[in-house]
Symmetry: C2
DNA sequence: TGAATTATGTGTTGATCATTACAGAAAGAG
DNA sequence: CTCTTTCTGTAATGATCAACACATAATTCA
């Protein structure tokens, strides 16, 4: 196989695109903005990523892998489901506020929250958010299975509740909430753990 | 004052614009879409509302008055702050899911959640969301003042917590959660009320 | 009636957008 | 070196967008 070698780093360019999409959303991040941020001219960009839509899908996949996974993996940390969820929320407190490296909020929570993003993107984002619910549900089911929580526990309600807290924290982070402010919300949420008194 | 009378109902047109902005957001609702939805040609629209941006500001103001206020007024319903917040969340359960008349979610929670909405709109929406926090804070402060809650209550944490629940419920409603599903989350949240056991 | 005023409808304007045509450059294969 | 292949840069393409110009119609006031 021959051909002139690519002159830019595909991973670094994808990272730059992800950051711009994260901050601006899909429509507001124009191909011009993206080219500037990625340090690539549009024909090279199209050759490497196919289309703006495909670029977004690659970016959100990159986001989930690099930023989402480490936070949601904390669910498995700790001996109990209670500790796991506390760890998840603690990780959210640390990562949701704007930092020197990352925009505020969770890219997957803030995206495709209005109609008429391209349908494939809306589908994918929705899937990511439903996966969050699935992760919580699975952790709670395991806790019921091993007797940590009573069999009467309303798993559906509890997982939707903690998902609400996480997603609401993402909105507040976007509005400028500090880690200390989010920490208060997270700790208040843990008081709702079943059987506590 | 003379002049040809307006042939369309300004309030009805504003209502239609609000519904479209609610569903699509600012950028995705084109002036063409808006004209169609409002039943008005663009020059009449500009004469009545100045610009797309001013139209959005009028629409969000209309939303807060017509849809937001009734829900947040429930905070004052009931003898205690606990009842007030339970009533607020119950109203959210009823109104957030998509209905025959309204799109899913809360227009103010779902809007301006990415950068580069026009700055005046971002400012206004942010103010609406901060007002939600202020309403919760005020209700909790009153509860502490009249001895309903201990003076040691962390009002800041508790109001941010319930705001998280509300905002997270709005996201889940947008993703298709049913009233029954949201009700579970709301009731789980009330378990976190201080001093309950 | 007629002058002043304000609405409506058609059609346009300049800007911005995502995408691509084309020509030149850089590599490997023979 | 020459051919093929793949990348890069310039500059265009057609589409869509918000906003408006202009002529016409409807109303009030004098």
């Amino acid at each position: 196989m021959a051909g002139r070698p690519r002159e830019f780093d595909r991973e670094a360019a994808l990272e730059a695109a992800m950051l711009l999409f994260w901050r601006k959303g899909f429509a507001a991040a124009s191909m011009n903005d993206l080219c500037d941020a990625m340090g690539v001219r549009s024909p090279s960009l199209y050759a490497a990523f196919e289309s703006k839509e495909a670029l977004y899908l690659a970016a959100i996949k990159h986001y989930v892998l690099i930023h989402g996974q480490p936070v949601w993996d904390r669910l498995a940390d700790g001996a109990t489901a209670r500790e796991g969820i506390a760890n998840l929320l603690a990780a959210a407190v640390e990562t949701l506020p704007k930092s020197r490296m990352t925009p505020a909020g969770c890219m997957a929570v803030l995206a495709a929250v209005s109609d008429e993003w391209p349908a494939p993107i809306a589908r994918e984002i929705r899937k990511v958010r439903l996966d969050m619910l699935g992760s919580l549900r699975a952790r709670l089911e395991a806790a019921v299975a091993n007797g940590e929580l009573p069999a009467t526990t309303d798993i559906e309600a509890l997982s939707r509740f903690y998902l609400s807290v996480f997603q609401g924290m993402a909105i507040q982070a976007k509005d400028g909430a500090t880690p200390a402010e989010l920490k208060g919300a997270a700790e208040a949420a843990m008081v709702a753990w079943p059987g506590d008194d």
